[in-house]
Amino acid sequence: MEKMQTTMEKPNDKNNGNFIIELQKVYVSYHEDVALHGVSFTVREGEFMGIIGPNGSGKTTLLTVVNGLARIHRGTVRIFGKKLDRKSVRKIRKKVGYVPQHNKIDPRTPLSAKEAVMIGRYGQIGLLAKPRKEDYEIVEDAIELVGMSEYADRSIGTLSGGQQQRIAIARALAQKPKILLLDEPTSAIDLPSQKNILELIRRIHTTEKLTTLFVTHNMSIAPQYCDRVVLMNEGKICALGPVKEILTEKNLSEIYRSQITVFQHDSGLIIAPS
């Protein structure tokens, strides 16, 4: 594949501002399948970074490297300037909110929506301690933010996919994170609600001064919400930089192995297969 356009910083370049996430030549493998091939990547504090690529390109693995869920085969990861290892991982995770890809929850799961959001607080509360009044207030605020107050006492497994996804976002927000990892957070949500949720995420990102990594298949929304995007394919970063420079017909057609048309419309960028 021809070298794509990138505007990547060197991870150890001190002149590029405060890197809150630094990956250096990271390899992750599941048995013989290598999910990430020597990925190097940095994110500055406060950035909203989109992660785009075809299925199986390593987007989810990249997110799980940041919160230490992926088993790193080789390479170095630094989060908040600290090396991510067995010793530091639990402390780091407490400040990293994670919304995984939507999986339908078993209807028999014995938790209410409110209890599911409270899980986001448990890491902060610590072992052998009970939630305090302020923890309950944070949980209620997070549920209200995602518009789920009406359903707070319902059993989590009986909610619809979209409602469960809102609760997942509320749980990540209740954690009061510094980094927010979102893996297709609107995939189970209807179109009008998607816009509301995305605007809510962007607003919280700004007001709470979060650093957000956002995996999405909906490339058209990237210019509106993302400061930069990472284009991934086959476990490698193919391109990284400002949205308009990276989401080009040439780059997208190459990684999706299909002719992709990109055109600017009043409503934003429209990306579609030709």
Partner: protein, 274 residues
Amino acid sequence: MVFEIFSYSFMQRALLAALFAGICCSLMGVFIVSLNVSAMTVAISHSAFTGAILGLLLGVNPLLLALVFSLFTAMLVGPLAERGDLNPDTVVGVMFSLMLGLGLLFIGLIEGPRTEALAVLWGSILTVNWTELIVMISLTLTIIIFIAFFFKEIQAMIFDREIAMAAGIPAQLIFYIALFLTGSTIAVSLRPIGGLLVFALMINPAATAYQLTNRLNHIFLLSIIIGTTCCFSGLFISYAFDLYSGATIVLVSVLVFMTTVILAPKKKVKEVIT
């Protein structure tokens, strides 16, 4: 008089064994049902059985070897299944067949009458001694303390282990402690309940409780009530009709479960929002 049976020392020990076996089996049953590790528990119970038979063969305390074997299996199967190198069902299946094969081999090697070996298989609550009872009481207290102190972490682990870990909760540690306690419960329940039946006494009360509520703390409490009630009523029925006590207790628990399923359909599932 009916109450005359309580004046016998063996019956007093049997009642205490029924109470504590009922409590610890039904509490650990909630973990088994919630975490969907039933197959793993069958492998652990067969390991405990094999350990006890080996103990009888070698003239070593059967409880001690049952404990060693069940904990060995719990601590081997859990991490192996976690690593993902092998299919968890394959690991459990191989361990199950290995332990069953060894158990039957050891039974064959026992010379003379195999009454004690059969007692391990079927259970004999009326022959429980004070040492076994003290071990059982200590284990029950340990399980209650574990659940009371780590309830919120248990709740998070039951909801989703990956999400719990991502929130900074030591979910893997809690999971392994639960497996360790499951192995211990099976080992100490061998004598009163029997290696073949202990699994049913763990699953049935918890599964029944799941039919009645969708709050985790209520499930734990209901499971204890159902488990101990089944143990007491099974014990009285077996005494009155001269039946195998372990088998009677388990059959009562199955009857309670089936009645509950018929009379208390899971209304919560009907609440699903579409």
